[in-house]
Amino acid sequence: MMISGAEIVVRCLQEEKVDCVFGYPGGSVLHIYDALFKQDQVTHILVRHEQAAVHAADAYSRSSQRVGVALVTSGPGVTNTVTGIATAYMDSIPMVVLCGQVPTQYIGQDAFQECDTVGITRPCVKHNFLVKDVKDLALTIKKAFHIAATGRPGPVVVDIPKDITAQMCEFEYPKSIQMRSYNPVVKGHLGQIKKAVQMLQEAKRPIIYTGGGVILSDAADKLTQLARKLDFPVTNTLMGLGGYPATDRQFVGMLGMHGTFEANNAMHYADVILAVGARFDDRVIGNPEHFGTEKRRVIHIDIDPSSISKRVKVDVPIVGNVADVLDEMLKLLDGGCKTDPEVADWWKQIDEWRGRKSLAYRQTNHIMPQYVVEKLYEVTGGDAFITSDVGQHQMFAAQYYKFDQPRRWINSGGLGTMGVGLPYGMGVLMANPGAQVACVTGEGSIQMCIQEMSTCKQYGLPVKIINLNNGMLGMVRQWQEMFYSKRYSQSYVTSLPDFVKLAEAYGHVGMRIEKPEDVEPALRKAFTEHKDDLVFMDFIIDPGANVFPMVAAGKGLTEMILAEEL
């Protein structure tokens, strides 16, 4: 039976078991929207700005094991998605973005709402396609889902001209796919894995350093088994939080620019580093020359060979899917694990570093942002999905909410995109209906996608917005205070809206919390009485609070600026 290109698009989504698409209609996708209207398998969430559609699809992916999908129109519809696509790309999030395009015969004519989608998105996608023949449509969409979800995952854009969606064609969805140019490695090299296991057993000052790769390959359980078997300390990157239970004794906290004293020292002074799905990012190891001053051996497991030996020379590279490689390691260790006895001394050293209590902070008469996150952790039983925006609040959330499970911490780590928090909350709720979701944000970030409160109303998405309001672009202010002699250039936000009234105007619940003793009751109220409501909690926090520890730009990991000792 012949069906239209638009119907093919929808049938493909159904075949991929996509239950939800985030999008915004427009001229060149009208046929597709018409086809969506005639079925009820795929739900469509109408956002208020295309950027939010992509962020929501991204969070849908991050918080589940499924590929998020966004659908937008040509021209401005596409350009509005670029920030969202780049955000997903930097964090290797599998996602498919379907874009309308002007009819084939108009391409290149500067037609109304035309842009070079493939050209504009090329540097921030894993791959992109322009469909030129309706006969290629189903295969192209199949390829898009395949490429997005396999290997090192990433966003894939499919650009579909309007005439293609009107043309008729037989529909057959390919069951499997073979691409001669795309065959990502899965299994790690056994010889290398054996070498790594031996190196681990000889280690005297080991550390397991893990990143987003553990989350993406659903390897948290295997990582935990391996770490327990070896009794090695574990540190997570910002993207890796939840990959190892944060409440566990072996967890030394997040490392990097705002990592704990113990994590950064353990990373720097380790004699063997087992890096798992992490990429020695500049925010993680600080100045690479300083990092290079210690002699150590590095084992690096990553599915992307280009991440290995990019910034730090690696002794045992293992290219493969993290879960598969960890599985092999566990098998090899089953024959008996003989960790070096000197590791006990290393633990003593780590406990000494822990004694510095680098996350301790002084309470003032104001609400401390750290305190809000700690209370949020208590009230939600440590079980909520936490989305965040970018800035001080993001670091406070990462440092003080103890993530015991993977896929619970949803933030823009690589690109550092302000404004993701609220649309991320929407994506999480669509993938995990009924879950507790809190968006930890600031008055700067939240205003970058605040219009999505309207979407939340339409679809009943009860995100709890934890607005850590200091009237400042906090992280910018912190750098200006420390490195620009307190010249607060453009980091002070005046004329803030009354967030309580704003939330109410959108039909939600608003609260303003100004005293420390009101923090916990307000949170409890939000998560019980207003369980099913979006609650905007405007916490007026201490404007002077800074994020510590801190490794200043260009400094080494051990050259941390610490908060005063309490």
Binding site: V118, G119, R122, P123, H127, L130, M179, S181, P305, S306
Partner: protein, 163 residues
């Protein structure tokens, strides 16, 4: 270090811009780039002349391999290979220079493929250094136009880049 990277890539619209975009986005050098379809029209063969340290070259190869359209990548200059470049050069050929130009073309085993009263077009093939020497050997004032294809190369003997 000078390196010649050979790439087999799906012959699709935009494939070239993916490679060129990768080089510019990551700050790698392209000294020359040639591309054309192979005996299998669905595949293109691209040759890139680049330079960089061993670490940079390792990244270039890895990043190229990551492009979804790229089927194979090899650093030709890692082992025995032959390389050639084609140049078409238009020179002024009047008076005593006319004879001299003919002689120079002969010495370099070039061929004169277009003749007018006052100009020659000389076709010259060889390693890039040979083309450089030819240009250096001419009076700069007599060169009217130079077109070079950039390097293309192939492995010697059993070194074969094929799907």
């Amino acid at each position: 270090m000078r390196h010649i990277i050979s790439i087999l890539i799906e012959n699709e619209a935009g494939a070239l811009s993916r490679v060129a975009g990768l080089f510019s986005a990551r700050g790698y050098n392209i000294e020359s780039l040639t591309v054309a379809p192979t005996e299998d029209p669905s595949l293109s063969r691209m040759t890139i002349l680049t330079s960089g340290s061993d670490d940079v070259l390792e990244q270039i190869t890895k990043q190229l391999n990551k492009l979804v359209d790229v089927v194979k990548v090899v650093d030709l200059s890692e082992a025995a290979h032959v390389e050639r470049e084609l140049m078409l050069i238009k020179v002024r050929a009047t008076g005593k220079d006319r004879e001299e130009m003919k002689r120079m073309a002969d010495i370099f085993r070039g061929r004169i493929i277009d003749v007018t009263e006052s100009t020659y077009v000389i076709e010259l093939t060889g390693a890039s250094t040979k083309l450089d020497s030819f240009i250096a050997g001419l009076d700069a004032g007599l060169i009217l136009e130079t077109v070079r294809t950039g390097v293309c190369g192939i492995g010697r003997g059993d070194r074969i880049l094929k799907v």
